[in-house]
Structure formats: structure tokens, C-alpha cells
Symmetry: C2
Amino acid sequence: MSKISRNELTALTQSAFVALGLTPEDASDVADILVMAEMFGLTTHGVSRVESYGERLLVKGINPRPSITVEKCAPSLFKVDGDNAVGPLVGMRCLNVAMKAAKEQGVSVVLARNSNHFGPISPYSLLAAEQGFATIIGSNATTTIAPWGGSDARLGNSPLGFGVPNPKGQHFLLDMAMSVVARAKIRNAFKAGQTIPDTWATDAKGVPTTSPKDALDGFLLPIGGHKGYGIALWVDMLAGLLSGAAYLTHVKSWLDEPDLPQNLGHFFILINTQMLGNTEWLAQKMNDFAAILHESAPSDPTKPVIVPGEIELNKMHDYLQNGIPIADDLLLLLQNFSKGQFVK
Amino acid sequence: MSKISRNELTALTQSAFVALGLTPEDASDVADILVMAEMFGLTTHGVSRVESYGERLLVKGINPRPSITVEKCAPSLFKVDGDNAVGPLVGMRCLNVAMKAAKEQGVSVVLARNSNHFGPISPYSLLAAEQGFATIIGSNATTTIAPWGGSDARLGNSPLGFGVPNPKGQHFLLDMAMSVVARAKIRNAFKAGQTIPDTWATDAKGVPTTSPKDALDGFLLPIGGHKGYGIALWVDMLAGLLSGAAYLTHVKSWLDEPDLPQNLGHFFILINTQMLGNTEWLAQKMNDFAAILHESAPSDPTKPVIVPGEIELNKMHDYLQNGIPIADDLLLLLQNFSKGQFVK
């Protein structure tokens, strides 16, 4: 494990994407999002994605030199065609369109099609919050969840995120998938020989199970049962259906078909909080909001109540001062990629 | 149990609110929402609310003759001051402002303060869907949920709803509270002498419990643990904090202090789907979306997979043809209220 500065890691990640065929400007946007993910501690969605994105760029499953187009449907409503670009590049383009429109209109919605995995959501929410915008951002994904009461995977875990700016304190940042737990947690229980709660997953027939083995053959369960199922569908209706992207089972799996476009979709909803009151007003309210929550005595004294975003923002603060920890093999991979050496 | 037509029930409910001091126009708006709730089968949020809203109108906790004002912050962003009106009246005013703006701007956001309980969300989503608008609508509420890991009630169950129109089929309608279950379900388990899953509620110290008795002394748990906690906070940040309403523990309880304004807040986010494509395109996509879900074989053969909104819309269709079932004592109450007889 090495520690590396934000600038160094960004430059290295950018170089890797340039070697994979992107322009330096486009590679810079992609690197910004992945490095921010790394600083938030979201390592599964960080610079390690250079490898999986890279594999698809190399087999032409992702377009390294896209012509991303923006269509203005109305003063506050836009459609973006990502031309099968690397996901975070489409995401950044959408965010910029959305911020420009919301600055004048107060609100904006941008719907993207022909995209790919766009990294975690909280980096986009942070960039928007720093400019005073509240956000609702979502994406569809490869199918991993069965319809509520169904028996085969027909919807994705529909990542969904929210941000609300605090001009003089910590922004509210929430970034979640719609499944109760990630598949990795079930795999860990299986390795440890433990049972799992019957709210985590179903077996292959769609019946809730406490066996991690059966669960690994089955499907993840959404949070709150039919409630999370409904939210996941709604995310896909905006990100997939209304955007003109693929949705539900129309989404191609990047593992099974890495060389085909996925046609993923995203949505960005922005609200300009600067048109609702001045920064003092907003900061005072946001700090009061957080204080009310923090003042609830924890049921476990070692675990104080937190507000979503605190863990990520505290980690970012630490890493900006002390460097970002990167596993040595990942660092080597980035260095090799940046030299055009794509074999492991 | 009697059956009564939509028009009759609306007229009766309207008369009750006129007797409680509202103008006929305002009473009509409130009646429309509550009768729609009744037609959706949401009886806890239907015309029985005449009684609880009425109690507060009679002790001047709710203002029967409000001056609701609308402030345009930007072309797509509005604030509404409900002047402590009956909630569904504020809700209808917000919806109309939002639809007018989204018709031209493509998107709109309306934030309301100084309001009260505004009924269920799906009637608003249905009215918007019938005009081609997708919706995200939320409200804050009296505190019933502890912060995740906390030990006292500091947030509400933050009702949240979504709608996506289908111009030639069934609209997508989702209307949910953020708790795993309603308190009534815990009460039923207690009466039946059953234990409850430890994901439903905590005891008075904030520790998850399987005892319905301890749960009734404690707090409801949000869906997905920290995930639902986060969504509930976000709803309150938009509906309460950004709107200028009360939020978290600042919200007054209408049970403990029925004569005081609650200063509840709501938000309405609308997207004009007619600017994204024509009705044939949208209908084809929405029908395909629903078909993909319906085609998943049910894990329990007696329970086919459904799409959110189906139960409510099918019930409405039935009730419109065959009349709305109303309990006799509720019908008597409405009749008495409409004559100005407010004692039980």
C-alpha cells in the first residue's frame, strides 16, 4: 500500500485513459470522477475501474472518441446522447449541462442515453453542491434483482443519489444501490459458514433464503421489499425509459458481452438553492439540521449518530492532507496502462 | 357498509368542509384528493380525514380561510406559503403551479411551507400523469423514527411518491412511507401474541427488537436501515428545510398540540414527458416495461408480479363503475358534519 497525492493519482489515471485512446480533456474528466471516488473511500468504484473500463475500450465495447450531443427539449429539460463514451465522461457532460441550465432556470433535468457505468454518484453530487445545487441523480444497471414476487433477474440495483449543499459546513451526500446488501456481503457469509437474514436475497426460484449458497444462485432483494422494488423501477423509468436508453432486460451485460454497447442511461435533477435564500440562511439551517440528528444519544455509545456524507467527506479531508492510499498492484497497473502496457 | 358514487361522496365531503368554514371552491379541491384516496383503497388517508382535519379546523389549529401565496424564485422554481390551510388545498395549489410551469419549462419544482397533512401522494401523481407529467412528490411529517443508531424520534416517516404517465395504459404510481411497516402492523402482532422481525422497529433505547410490546414503546425502523434513514432525511431537507417549513423535531405534533400550526412542508417535482417524445412512443415503452415485469414467473403461483399503481388503479376502475364502499358510521359522520353537527 502506497500513499499518493490527488494530483499525482489524477495525472496517472488521466494518462492511462489517454493511452486507452481518449483525448486528454476527456481523460481528465473521467479521472476526476474516479479519483474523487477513491478519496471518498469508494474503492470498488475508484481508479481500479481503469481496468474494467479499459478492457471494454480495447475490444471497442466503449467508444474512446465519442461525439456526445445535447438536445434542448425545453428551457429546463435536456437529452444527452453519450455516443457510447466512457460513463464518467457522459456523467460530467450531463452535470455541466444541468448546472448551466439550473443556474438560470432554478431547476434542470438532464436525461442521458447510450452511456456506460458512470462511477459512483456522490462525486457528481459533491461537484454540484460546491456550486450551490441540490441533486437527485440516478442510473440504471445490469439486471441483478427479480421483480417483487418474481423469479428471475429483470431489473438492476438502480444506483440513486442525493445531495444538498451546506455552504459553511458538510454537504448532505447520499449514494446507494437499491439492494439491501451487495453480493460481496453474501459471498463473505458463505466463506465464513454463516447464515444470512432472509431479507437479503432469494434462491434461484425467487423465494427468500437464509442460505448464502442458495442466495448466490438467486437474486438480491431490494430494501423494504416492494418499496425498494418500486424505487428501483422508477429510477430505471427515468434513467432508462424516458431517456431513450435501454431498460430492464434490454440492458446488455458488460461481463457477458463486453464488446457490445450497453446503452445505459442516467438522469440528473438539479435545484439551485441559491435562488431560495442566501448562503447564511442555508448554512444555518443545514447546521441546525445536522445538530438535531447528532444530539440523539446513540443506542451503541461507541457509534455516534451520523448524517449521510460525513464518512466520505471526512475521508476526503484526510486523504487530501495525507495522501490517498493505493494498493501496490493497482498502482503498478495504472503505471503500466499509462505506458500503453495493457497486459496484466 | 354502503356503496356511494364518486360524485355523491365528493359532494358530501365538500359540504362537510364548507360547514367547517372553507369556501366551496377550496372545499372542492380538498374533497377531490380525499375521495381519490378512497377510490385507491387508501381508506386511512381518505374521507375519514374529515374528522381529524375537522377537529383542528374547529380549534383554529388549521386556517379555514387562508391566503395561499406563490413566489416565483426562477422560471422553474417556486415557493408556496400555505398560510396554514388544510393540507390537500395547499397540495392542489402546488400541483397546479407546478403543472403550469412544467408545461412551458419542461420541468418545475414547487416547495411549500406552512401546510398540514396533505393526504396520500398518489392522487396528485395521478392528476399530473393524466396531463403527461412525471412526478416526484414528498412531504415531511411528525417525528416517529429515530436517527439510524440513535435513540429518540427525530424524523418523520417522510412520505414519498413517484408517478410516470402511460398515455395508453396504466400509469406507474408509487406512494410509500419510509418505515418498513406502519405502526398498526406492530399493534396487530401484539394483539395476536406474535413476535415481529427485528427489522421493523426498535425498543425505547433504539435497539432493534422482536417484541411488539417493546416496539410499541420504541421507534419505527426505516427501510434498508441507513439507506431509508438517508432518504427520509433527504425528503425532509427538500420538503422542510429548503421550503422554509419546519423540519425534524421542529415539526409540531397534531395530536399533542392540535391548536398550533404544524408548519409542514411539501415538494413537487414535475417533468413534462410530452417534450421527450409523442404519446405513441411513451405508451409503447411503458407497456413494454410493464410486460417485461409481468412476464417474470411468480415465485408463488397465486401472486403474479405487479407494477406499482396497478392495485390502486384497478380498484378505482371498479369503484367508478360499482360505487365506493363506505362504512356506515363514516357516512353518518360525513352527513352530520355537512349539516354542521360536529359532535360524535
